[in-house]
């Protein structure tokens, strides 16, 4: 059964991009554009993850968050905010949000965060991330190719997780830079990213994995079979 995700966001073009991007993941997406609509939808179905914008036309995402936590609603919650303010982030996380993302964000980043939250919400032991012969265990940070353990650095592991979550889609170098270095990504050159990817690819292939990492000229990378 696919996990259910609710996107609460009032900007229609943005919702359209998000849902289209997420449709390639194993996710069922529902959308609410207002606070009241979100409350209604949450009352009707059970969501595994709620992505909520802080600034909604008829209320604050923070209130929705508190609402859900008060009712012990068991869903992962990701706050997205255009305000990028530290206070919003701290407040959101303190009030029970699982993650915080400030606008503008890479769709691949949002997708990776949603996947991470969904993984954490799953029952213990089942949180293995699999792609063909590759199996990654986010808790222990162990990676296996056909059952053979691959030793990766932190950054290589983060890259792999990111790739698997965004499999079959083109990921820009900027998005990868942000995934690895967050706000200091402006320091990251294409060469640094490339050198990490090169190492990751080599380690996986050495253990018998097929090479799924494709360079997309001028843009970035794509993790896919074809």
């Amino acid at each position: 059964m696919k996990p259910e995700v609710l996107i609460v966001e009032d900007e229609a073009p943005l919702i359209q991009s998000i849902t289209e991007y997420l449709s390639k993941s194993e996710i069922n997406c529902q959308v609410a554009t207002t606070f009241s609509e979100a409350v209604k939808r949450i009352g009707l179905s059970k969501f595994d993850c709620v992505v909520v914008d802080i600034g909604l036309p008829d209320g604050s995402g923070i209130d929705l968050l508190q609402n859900l936590r008060k009712k012990n609603y068991d869903a992962g919650i990701i706050i997205i905010s255009a305000r990028n303010s530290v206070e919003d982030k701290i407040e959101g996380l303190n009030k029970g949000a699982d993650d915080f993302l400030s606008k503008p964000f890479h769709l691949s980043e949002l997708n990776a965060r949603i996947n991470a939250v969904l993984r954490r919400k799953k029952t213990q032991g089942k949180s293995v991330l699999e792609f063909k012969e590759i199996a990654a265990h986010p808790d222990s940070k162990d990676v296996f190719v056909n059952g053979n353990k691959v030793v990766l650095t932190n950054k290589e592991f983060e890259l792999l997780i990111y790739f698997i979550a965004n499999a079959n889609r083109i990921i820009t170098k900027e998005a990868l830079g942000f995934a690895l270095w967050k706000n200091n990504a402006d320091m990251a050159s294409g060469e640094i990213i490339y050198s990490h990817i090169k190492n990751l690819r080599k380690k996986l292939v050495d253990k018998g994995s097929r090479d799924y990492i494709q360079a997309v000229y001028g843009v970035g990378y794509k993790f896919s079979e074809a």
Partner: protein, 433 residues
């Protein structure tokens, strides 16, 4: 000069002048009064003496029962004088030396005079000139006495003015100083209203009212500015998020040409830059508005090793060697998030403007944090280094990093300075004393 001192000086000067003028006026007034009184007295005595003479008393044996002096001189019967007044400065001299009489008369204004009434008495046998001199015991040294009295009251006046001023000042201005303290301690980011002390003095009530009206206005403006900043950033970030997501979706399209990809990536870079710029400006605005929480003691040692780890990739990429010499007890008093921002920007700067295989030296002690890096000698005006949007032709640099460093230092009681010495760019942060 304190208000109190000026007040006392002005008061003292004014009262001295007034008392001095008052003394002069009193003196003139007394002199004319005494003269008038003496005249009346002498006329009365003259009448009494004339009565005695008419009763047959010999002029030589005339006495006066109120202590006035009587001088009798025989004169030739003619001519007849009307009685007249004259003034005598010093009786002794008058008595001893008639010759000087004229002189004394001329010296009229020199001192207190004694009044004399001169009149003639004619008997069939002889004529007499009788000079009746007013007893002067009570008016002698009057000028000296007045001077003394004036001086004493002047001293008393000044002393009491100073005292009264001092105490009144302390009491009256109490509420003024309390209000002043409140205004001095006013911190807009604390969002608390200043509480002005109650006062019964109208001027201070007016002042307090005006101040609190001004304060309301300042707070209102501050909040609307803050709101505007937040709204502006919100309004900008959301369309940026839309643009960025559309570019990302567009890149997913199959069969894009090289040219199309290049166009999209260029647009994507610009969106990224715009977003970073916006974030940087929001932080600067927040710093300008002093909107950060109170500082904490951050251990330099911990902070620097954390951040170096984060920048490890970038340091290795340029094969830069990093030397640290940090006192384990050295701290910096700063909001932890700001401390991270501060140090990240220093480190980014030291990496970006370094040459390959260069060196970064980080020294930290209780009183100084110094980040030095090798690099080309500056081709820019070093004065402008800390200005917003200053760029040393570095690709991808926003020119906000060192402006942020400076601003963070400024609001946290530190100063940052730059120098280039023997091939090293040196940025030094010290407490602002």
């Amino acid at each position: 000069m304190k208000l109190l001192h000026r007040n006392i000086i002005v008061n003292a000067a004014t009262s001295l002048v007034v008392i001095f003028l008052g003394g002069i006026i009193t003196w003139f007034f007394l002199v004319s009064k005494i003269k008038q009184e003496s005249e009346e007295h002498l006329w009365g005595e003259k009448a009494a003496i004339q009565q005695k003479l008419e009763q047959g008393t010999s002029p030589e044996t005339l006495t006066n029962n109120v202590g006035d002096e009587i001088l009798v001189k025989e004169i030739s019967p003619l001519p007849k004088h009307q009685p007249y007044f004259k003034t005598i400065a010093k009786r002794e001299q008058y008595e001893s030396n008639h010759e000087e009489e004229r002189e004394e008369e001329e010296a009229e204004e020199s001192s207190f005079e004694t009044m004399a009434l001169v009149f003639e008495h004619h008997t069939p046998q002889k004529s007499y000139e009788i000079t009746l001199i007013r007893s002067a015991d009570n008016v002698e040294e009057l000028d000296k006495n007045i001077l003394e009295a004036v001086s004493i009251s002047a001293i008393l006046m000044v002393l009491s003015l100073a005292l009264v001023n001092f105490f009144i000042y302390k009491r009256l201005w109490n509420s003024f100083y309390a209000a002043l303290r409140e205004v001095q301690n006013f911190n807009i980011s604390r969002h608390e209203m200043v509480q002005f002390p109650e006062t019964s003095i109208k001027e201070f009530q007016d002042l307090n009212r005006a101040l609190s009206q001004m304060e309301h206005k300042i707070l209102r403006d501050f909040h609307s500015l803050k709101e505007f900043t937040e709204n502006a950033s919100h309004e900008i970030q959301t369309p940026l998020a839309v643009i960025s997501s559309k570019i990302e979706m567009c890149l997913q399209e199959p069969d894009l040409s090289q040219r199309q990809v290049k166009l999209l990536i260029d647009a994507s870079h610009a969106v990224n830059t715009l977003s970073n710029l916006n974030k940087g400006l929001i932080i600067l605005t927040k710093l300008d508005n002093d909107q950060y929480d109170p500082p904490e003691l951050v251990y330099l040692h911990q902070l620097i090793s954390d951040r170096l780890q984060l920048f490890d990739d970038f340091i290795k990429e340029k094969e830069i060697s990093v030397h640290t010499n940090i006192d384990p007890s050295a701290t910096i008093l700063l909001n932890p998030l700001l401390a991270e921002t501060l140090f990240d920007n220093l480190l980014k700067n030291a990496i970006k403007h370094n040459h390959a295989k260069g060196t970064i030296t980080i020294e930290g002690s209780a009183n100084v944090l110094r980040v030095s890096n090798t690099g080309q000698s500056p081709r820019f005006d070093t004065e402008k280094l800390f200005e917003r949007f200053f760029k040393d032709s570095q690709e991808g640099s926003l020119g906000l990093g060192l402006a942020l460093v400076k601003k963070i230092c400024q609001i946290s009681g530190y100063v940052v300075s730059y120098e280039f010495k023997e091939g090293w760019h040196i940025l030094t942060i010290k407490p602002n004393r």
